[in-house]
């Protein structure tokens, strides 16, 4: 444990911090530093980084070698020009990125916060915060560092935080100060008492465990234990609390959220890795070839020596071995153009442009928030075209986390129409209801009539149940209650009841005040049997104002239906309604009621009090039994149906992506039921899909031959359910604790993945951020596919970083996920376009680029090998030096760059219409090592043609070397141009211009570099003077170049032609397949029983404990007295007293 010593007692200045033990605590200020350069360090650092790239180092070596006259086959400036360009472009780019990071850091660092200095809260900035500082947080402020909560403006020093940015859960969490600090510091809540706070905090070393905190506070001779409950984490937002005071315990990089960010991993695309390997292969080949040529040179020179008695006409050294040695280096220099130096920089430029296109896409622009898509990492574009696994977060990604009360069934009658979209629902006239705030997307005038006409007691009971049976708290704002719910479902239910006239007004520990159609009634809350994921239900036992005890219960259908009294009326109708709701992918809850006789309640409560007092392990089971006893003999009233609103276009997107061959997995921290429900509603799962859960999966995995068993399991099941269904659809559902077993059984990973590959989908529920990342690691380890993860919250950061490609959804708040993502989108459905259009295009463009680049550089450079055999292995260049310098940069670069920018085989709409086209990327059809190698072989062929045809033409003629050089250069340029013309399928004006300009440029700059003017400036550098004057008008030169060009491109022309002929048929097939748009509504077959009853709650127990203990209820309800007083009904005075004074009275427990 690191000891944090907090002294604040009499210090006149800001409280000082003393570190008793600095192990692990590296940073005591709160400054975020993600930039890496300073003006001084930029140059050395950037050079150091860039020369870590093997390619750059290689070319630096080349430049050095070229400076040695004895081996300099081509002058040094031929290489240093492109190298300098490459280095400076890269450096500028890095610098710009770093500046942007610096700016964003500065923005975060300068966020305001109130720091206590000299007994006063001064406006400070986040960067000024130090460990031990006392901070005041305002409502809705982001918490700047990990704080120990000292006290807050709320009773019991409670405060609410929203942790959406940390764990993705949007419901509010309670945090409570120690009673010790609360009692002392709030008695006179002033700066002085806070400034006088001089406790000593012992806490753990900084770590990344978000949900665990252990520490001790020593203050005034007392020591109290500190837990997670007492800590406010950086990145969370204070809600519904005016002020909170805290003392900083971890700052800056030590905070939990920063510790959770993990190390920044440089992501490299698979294509780049393959290509790197090919480049290394090329280098090795060059070395080997140079070696052979050097041996040849040695042999040649020894032959020359043995045959020339007198002074040799040729210049050879005495020692053939030494000659060979020099020639080796010369050939390395001469063949170095085969190593594409401009490749990496072109690669980056192309990536940047593709990223710009992503940002420019109107169809990925989210107008309501004025937010275009954003490629934050500009080096992964082609990976977008190869994604095999999409791992998605649920809350906020697939769903909006916005629950709507869409339908209900009361006493067998169904209200509301799910076929109408929520926005299109005809709004009901609720003007009679002063509490109506809108937000009810259900049109059921019939129900209203019944309710207001007081005709149907059951529907009244139904709504009463809705407004009583929950753990929501109400806060009064502008004369109306604002509900704070731990679960969005509850909020939706209570809100719906409010709209329909049953308004939950407030609650105290013992009473619930509601307004029923304008009549205020007070129910005494006798017991609250809270929701747990095991019970899957909750109940309240209330005493009605008229007397009489009622138990209102809501819960999952299975649980409720087995607890009904015999011959409960409407059961059949309601069960049918359940099925209907399920088909509409709505979340259902059964509502039931029971009248409890007074005497049985008394007995029950006595037993319960006894049980609660027990301190043994049996207590929970006993309580469980008791609760079970109470929730019996229920009378079913109805069913609620809540729509967990999906993000726009989610089912279509998922269906489209699945057609494109992607496996879509859902990883969520949410409950299994919710996840499965969402799985159905977003078409991830079909009605026929068989869910394999852990027990079964475990058996399969444990069996010696998992695949066979799995196959059999699938078969038999399908046989039983649906004979016709040929496609066996299976999905695996796992939960976090089950996944933990994988860590102990690493051997399961491979077989699990092979099973998962055959599954429609895998749902992982209740997983921690770390586990999300583990799942991705598992996928990455056992498949060769590219993984993509998408999420919106800080809990997704880990998986976003772990996946090959991480996508962050920009939510309402924006935040950590986007910060760490490679791509930021505003809507899940934009994924279609990102993957199927931009990704596919990028993949094709970049693959074409790489293949062509390899071809053109190797094809032109390898000529020297063959020439070596005819010039005594002397490393004589077959080109003018300037041609070597300009070939890659000016003569062949622009057309391929245009292809890499603009190429599209099919347009965006067709890409989306035929998602199958995407599969070629997943199969790496254009970037596999095989394809790259065939491109290399083709380059070798080309170089052979480029050399041997001119050789045949010029052998034993009066043509000189320089004319041959120009001929070969011409043929090489033509070949590269024809090849790019064959590759281009989308001729924009830029492509046409680039091709024309490149060829014209070749002629112009050849004429220039061979001009009289330049020769007279420097005879040594421009010694090709006059060659092109003669060569360009010589028909033989043209005929030779033409023949070489056509012969060189003949294989690819033939391949293209055969391809055209062979695919005529296929294309016709593809185009003639009629396509229906993906249907939104599921086509469930009759007879499938798929009730999905669910109820979303955050992890851990519900807040029932706080309600029944009364701690979370406070009186920010100034107008309630009048409201209650003005009501028609006499009210229970006790309740009112409680309401008024609960701040001081009801904290007894």
């Amino acid at each position: 444990m690191t000891r944090l010593h907090h002294l604040a007692a009499s210090a006149p200045q800001r409280p000082q911090t003393e570190l008793a033990n600095d192990a692990g605590l590296t940073q005591t200020d709160n400054v975020l530093r993600s930039h890496k350069y300073s003006p001084l360090t930029f140059l050395p650092l950037t050079l150091f980084e860039q020369f870590q790239r093997v390619a750059n180092l290689y070319f630096l070596l080349m430049v050095v070698l070229q400076c040695v006259p004895a081996i300099s086959a081509i002058p040094w400036y031929i290489t240093i020009i492109p190298l300098t360009i490459v280095l400076s472009v890269r450096g500028v780019k890095d610098l710009a990125n770093d500046m942007a990071r610096r700016r964003s850091d500065a923005k975060i660092n300068s966020r305001p916060c109130d720091v206590l200095i000299s007994q006063r809260f001064n406006k400070g900035q986040w960067r000024d915060l130090h460990v031990g500082d006392v901070v005041r947080i305002h409502k809705d402020q982001v918490i700047p560092a990990d704080l120990l909560l000292l006290c807050s403006s709320e009773p019991h020093s409670l405060c609410y935080v929203e942790t959406a940015d940390i764990d993705g859960e949007t419901n509010l969490k309670f945090r409570q100060a120690l009673s010790a600090t609360h009692d002392e510091l709030t008695s006179q809540p002033s700066e002085e008492t806070l400034a006088a706070f001089n406790g000593v905090v012992f806490c753990e070393e900084p770590n990344n465990r978000l949900y665990v905190f252990r520490g001790q506070l020593h203050w005034r001779g007392e020591s109290s234990l500190l837990e997670n409950e007492h800590v406010l984490l950086r990145g969370t937002v204070l809600r519904n609390t005016e002020f909170a005071y805290g003392v900083a315990i971890y700052t800056g990089a030590d905070t939990k959220i920063m510790r959770n960010c993990g190390k920044l991993r440089v992501k490299r695309t698979r294509t780049e890795r393959v290509f790197n390997r090919v480049v290394i292969g090329i280098v090795l080949c060059v070395l080997l070839t140079a070696l052979f040529l050097a041996i040849g040179a040695g042999v040649f020179s020894s032959w020359v020596m043995s045959h020339t008695e007198d002074a040799s006409l040729l210049v050879v050294d005495d020692n053939p071995a030494y000659t060979g040695f020099l020639i080796f280096w010369s050939y390395i220099i001469l063949l170095s153009p085969a190593m594409p130096i401009a490749l990496y920089i072109s690669f980056e430029v192309i990536h940047s442009v593709h990223s710009l296109f992503i940002g420019w896409d109107m169809d990925m622009y989210w107008q309501p928030a004025d937010r275009p898509a954003q490629a934050r990492n500009t080096s992964l574009n082609e990976e977008l075209g190869q994604v095999g696994y999409l791992l998605s977060d649920k809350t906020g990604t697939l769903t909006q986390n916005h629950l709507l009360f869409r339908q209900c069934c009361i006493a067998g009658e169904i209200y509301g129409d799910p076929s109408v979209r929520a926005e299109d629902t005809e709004p009901m006239d609720l003007s009679w209801n002063p509490f109506s705030r809108g937000g009810l997307f259900m049109s059921a005038p019939g129900l209203l009539e019944k309710l207001r006409g007081q005709q149907c007691p059951l529907s009244r009971q139904f709504l009463r149940a809705l407004c009583l049976c929950h753990t929501v708290t109400a806060e009064w704002k502008e004369e109306a209650p604002v509900y704070q719910a731990a679960s969005p479902d509850e909020e939706a239910l209570v809100g719906a009841a409010r709209e329909l006239g049953w308004v939950f007004l407030s609650r105290t520990r013992d009473f619930i005040v509601v307004s029923e159609l304008g009549v205020t009634r007070q129910y005494q809350l006798l017991a609250l049997l809270d929701f747990t994921s095991k019970r899957r239900r909750m109940s309240v036992l209330v005493r009605e104002p008229e007397g009489g005890l009622k138990l209102y219960c809501k819960g999952a259908d299975i649980v409720i239906l087995e607890r009904l009294q015999k011959d409960s009326p409407y059961q059949e109708e309601i069960e049918r309604a359940l099925e209907l709701f399920a088909q509409a992918c709505l979340r259902t809850l059964c509502i039931a009621v029971r009248s409890v006789p007074e005497e049985s309640w008394e007995l029950w409560s006595k037993t319960q009090a006894q049980a609660a007092a027990m301190a043994t392990v049996d207590r929970d089971t006993l309580l469980e039994k008791l609760h079970d006893q109470m929730e019996r003999e229920l009378q079913l009233i109805g069913v609620t149906a809540i729509e967990d609103r999906l993000q726009e276009g989610v089912p279509e997107t998922i269906a489209l992506l699945q057609q494109a061959g992607l496996k879509v997995w859902v990883l969520t921290g949410d409950k299994k039921e919710t996840a499965v429900n969402i799985g159905y509603s977003c078409k991830l799962l079909d009605a026929e899909t068989r869910l394999v859960e852990w027990q079964e999966l475990r058996q399969i995995l444990q069996s010696p031959d998992p695949e066979v068993i799995f196959f059999k399991a699938r078969q038999t099941e399908l046989w039983a359910v649906d004979k016709q269904s040929a496609g066996a659809k299976t999905a695996v559902v796992l939960t976090g604790p089950e996944l933990a077993e994988f860590e102990q059984r690493p051997e399961w990973g491979a077989s699990f993945m092979s099973l998962a590959e055959q599954c429609q989908s895998v749902l992982c529920c209740r997983v921690t951020p770390g586990q999300k990342a583990d799942i991705i690691t598992l996928v990455r380890k056992h498949t060769r596919a590219v993984t993509m993860s998408i999420g919106d919250g800080a809990n997704d950061v880990n998986m976003i970083k772990t996946a090959h490609v991480g996508v962050g959804l920009e939510g309402v708040e924006g935040g950590q996920a986007v910060q760490n993502a490679d791509f930021a989108l505003s809507q899940f459905r934009f994924l279609q376009r990102l993957l199927l259009v931009h990704g596919r295009w990028s993949y094709r463009r970049i693959s074409f680029f790489l293949l062509y680049f390899l071809f053109k550089t190797c094809g032109f450079a390898l000529v020297h090998i063959w020439f070596g055999f005819f010039n005594g292995f002397s490393a004589q260049s077959l080109y003018e030096n300037w041609f070597i310098a300009f070939y890659t940069v000016f003569y062949t670069a622009a057309p391929i760059m245009c292809v890499a920018f603009f190429e599209q085989d099919v347009n965006a709409d067709s890409s989306l219409r035929w998602p199958e086209l995407y599969k070629s990327g997943q199969r790496q059809e254009l970037s596999s090592p095989l394809v790259l190698c065939s491109s290399l072989l083709y380059a070798v062929y080309t170089s052979l043609v480029l050399f041997f045809i001119p050789l045949g033409v010029y052998y034993d003629t009066a043509y000189d070397y320089q004319t041959m050089a120009v001929t070969v250069a011409m043929a090489a340029t033509f070949t590269a141009t024809v090849e790019i013309a064959l590759l281009t399928r989308y001729w924009t004006k830029f492509n046409v211009a680039a091709v024309c300009v490149s060829v014209v440029l070749f002629f112009i700059s050849t004429r220039i570099s061979q001009s009289t003017f330049l020769f007279q400036k420097s005879p040594v550098d421009y010694f090709f003077i006059g060659v092109s004057d003669k060569a360009f008008i010589d028909p033989l030169v043209w005929l030779a170049a033409l023949l070489a060009t056509w012969t060189a491109v003949l294989p690819s022309v033939t391949a293209l032609a055969l391809n055209v002929i062979l695919t005529v048929h296929d294309k016709h097939k593809v185009h003639s397949v009629s396509r229906q748009p993906v249907e939104l509504r599921s086509k469930l077959k009759r007879g499938t029983s798929l009730r999905r009853s669910s109820y979303a709650l955050s992890q851990g127990a519900g807040p029932g404990r706080l309600i029944t203990s009364g701690t979370c209820i406070h009186s920010t309800v100034p107008t309630l007295d009048e409201k209650v007083a003005s009501s028609n009904y006499p009210t229970d005075s006790r309740g009112q007293i409680h309401i008024k004074t609960n701040n001081h009275v009801t904290n007894g427990t």
């Binding site: 008695e309 937010r371 052998y955 070397y961 041959m964």
Partner: protein
Amino acid sequence: MVKQEEQLLADRPDNTAFTQQRLPAWQPMLSAGIVIPGFVLIGLAFIGIGVALFVTSQSIQVLEMDYTGRETTSGCFKCTDPDTKNCVCQLDFDIDTLIKGPVFFYYGLSNYFQNYRRYGVSKDDTQLSGDLDNFINPSDTCSPYDTDNDKPIVPCGSIANSMFNDTFVLHQLINGTKKLVPFDGKGIAWWTDYNVKYRNPGVKPLKDAFKDTVKPPFWPKPAYELDPSDPNNNGFINQDFLVWMRRAALSDFRKLYRRIARGDYTQGLPAGNYSLEIHYNYPVLSFNGRKKVVFSNVSWMGGQNEFLGIAYLVVGSMCIIMSIVMLIVYAKFKFPEED
């Protein structure tokens, strides 16, 4: 109002064809109907060019004679001894039909690597463009022929040093008398070489410029005495020197020696007996080299070149064969067997 909206949507991307990747473009739709005729056309074009080249090449008359003297029967065998100086040998030959003029007279060398890199760089372009500084200090690239006994060699370097120095005189034998066939040695070098690339220093007389320098060791006489009769053909701008300095591409090459287009021989070399007098100076046997002389006329495509014509024919035929294969493949696909 509009302005406000614009401000609200500040990050809205531009809706242009470029940013939305909807640039108008021509997308060639290839089909078998284009591809196969295309191949046939290109094949025919190549065959056409090939035939034209082949016919032209055949019409060029070439007379090629080896005079290395390797065989003892050869007239120049006596000159192959390196110790023999100023050896002259004769090569007699007959011409059956008139070689139409203008006739070009080449000398040819084989197994001679003028394209060897160290050989090729061994010259000083600055010196050769008449820079007197480089007369005194030849460039390092000339090594080992940059200095001789601490005196700078001019012209320095391997290429210059190894200049071909056989000379030829051609006689037609008419009724036992020798009739000199006049040679034209003007303009056999490249215009740029003669006028720009190689320049004599501006010093008059030329000999003074070569003060304190030595001739290349292999040369019998210094550069300023290459053609004392004609100052425009002397020194660095001597045509033979320029022709030699233009390196050959491959190890077997010809270089233009003279044109025969003067006097009675404007129409070419008539049929008859000829005698070529060779001043045999240049040793080639030591490296298995060969020397030859070539009389040839030229056409629009230059000298005789059978390779090009044949290569065009071969490639053209390949295209035709390919198109036939494609046609078969296409037919199979287009009209697949029933079922």
